[in-house]
Point group: D2
Chain length 166, copies 4
């Protein structure tokens, strides 16, 4: 059985982030999109030296950047090629998030999505499955709702309902 | 007249971030600390392609990383070599923050600092002086209050009160 | 010289909150709108026993309720009778905000306002003028932009540009 | 079988909020603590006219006040009679949270708790079980860790491990 349409699409959106050669690829070029269902994306990041702060643990800025990017990818997993603009993002840091060689896991969930706004939450866990940080990310999507590359998935994300793009 | 003791110290702390070769230098190696008085730090960043999102403007993750780092440097400007661990960071994005070649300015202010907690706020402005984003950053500093490299400044930050470190 | 059109209008909006007999008047019936210019509202609250927490200082929930309400009134001060719906509100608490008999001051500022979103910040100070807390409040205003009771002020808020309502 | 020790204690803490006649009882005198296990508290609120905003739905300030109070009660459910002071609280509002006669449900979870800081998250759902809002609440608990009325529960909260208070 092949990869679900939703995972394929979400990875394609992530790939468009990578190709852009901007902040995402600068921070976490090796981000892996592990799974994607409409509205829920799971990813992992093997921690590298350039992800750290001065005390040798994952930098808060990295986790916030992931809060931003994974929240956007959760919106993408609903079939949106463009994911709008952020209005508010916040992250709470409850324990050190790992050192070089550890893996950081992020799970982003769309909590609501209308014609103007999309809300996401992102939970970060470590190799032991312990919660280390979590964030919320609100976006204005009013201008990206009808992008030509948007698609629609079946409820389980396995298939495309209507292929709008090549 | 030479550089103030506070600016010299704050730049030294920033330099220790750079030497660490972690997330800070990965994201904004060319950050410039323009000024520092105890509790207030101003910095600028010439925007480079690796600071962008897919639509060609400054990535929200970059601004959040700066909210984190500039808030920490504002704590450093009070004479703290180590600046504690973040508890909560949040940023509001009110307009696009610039494109390649533009300069992004950040001003971080310590709003409160006790024996356990330090609070900072960071305002981001563009070349026109317009506010583009702002954030808040709360840190637990209980374990870094008595670091051997901490110093104390005169109220205006011009001089050291007591030189604790070389 | 009489009261400015902006202050008169903002107080009228506050009065509509009071008449509603909801959460606002339950929490702070004696809120005073001290001044209003388009986008900037100042208010004061004499602290009463029903504003407190268990340790006898102002309850965080009261300050957050004021972050919500004063942010909305700052939007009102731009001539908007209805002020949209909140998307994200957050408050940082940096010191105890007062006891019975003290006065709490709040200053709300609109930092950005477009056709869909309005952003505000609220600073809280005590009788000594010390900052005690501050918050941010983002609202979706897409559906309240063209309310029949909206008005337009001259830049200084002294006069109405065009009287749309009685 | 009787009520668990944890639920009994958490209700006792809530009762001390009520007796205080402050902001809590002003806003939601009829809050019901439905269940409590160490670190997890569920509550419900029948919505009354004094909980509303101008458009007839639950006021954001009410939900934020509950974010504050339920987060504190989740800390209480770990056996803490006093629950520290808030540093940061934030709430995201994803849909209208109900009208008079509806019931609003809140579930607060302690995500981390050390010697200095406690972190909580609160989810709000409506009568249909739909998520309507959620918040995060961080508290400094360094000074309330050793209160004479603190107790310790068995892991499941059914019994007291050591009865420190009458």
């Amino acid at each position: 059985m092949g990869m679900s349409a939703c995972l394929r699409f979400t990875r394609r959106v992530w790939h468009s982030f990578v190709e852009n050669k901007g902040h995402d690829v600068q921070c976490f070029p090796n981000l892996e999109i592990l799974s994607a269902k409409p509205g829920v994306v799971e990813a992992s990041l093997k921690i590298e030296p350039y992800n750290l702060n001065r005390v040798g643990t994952v930098h808060g800025g990295l986790i916030m950047s992931l809060t931003d990017t994974l929240g956007s990818l959760a919106i993408a997993s609903k079939g949106h090629f463009m994911t709008g603009v952020s209005t508010d993002v916040g992250t709470s840091f409850i324990k050190p998030a790992g050192r070089v060689g550890d893996t950081l896991y992020g799970k982003a969930v769309v909590t609501a999505m209308g014609k103007s706004l999309a809300y996401t939450r992102v939970d970060f866990t470590n190799d032991n499955g312990s919660l280390v940080a979590y964030g919320h990310h609100t976006k204005y999507i009013g201008k990206s709702l009808s992008h030509k590359d948007n698609v629609e998935f079946t409820e389980d994300g396995e298939n495309l309902v209507e292929k709008k793009s090549a």
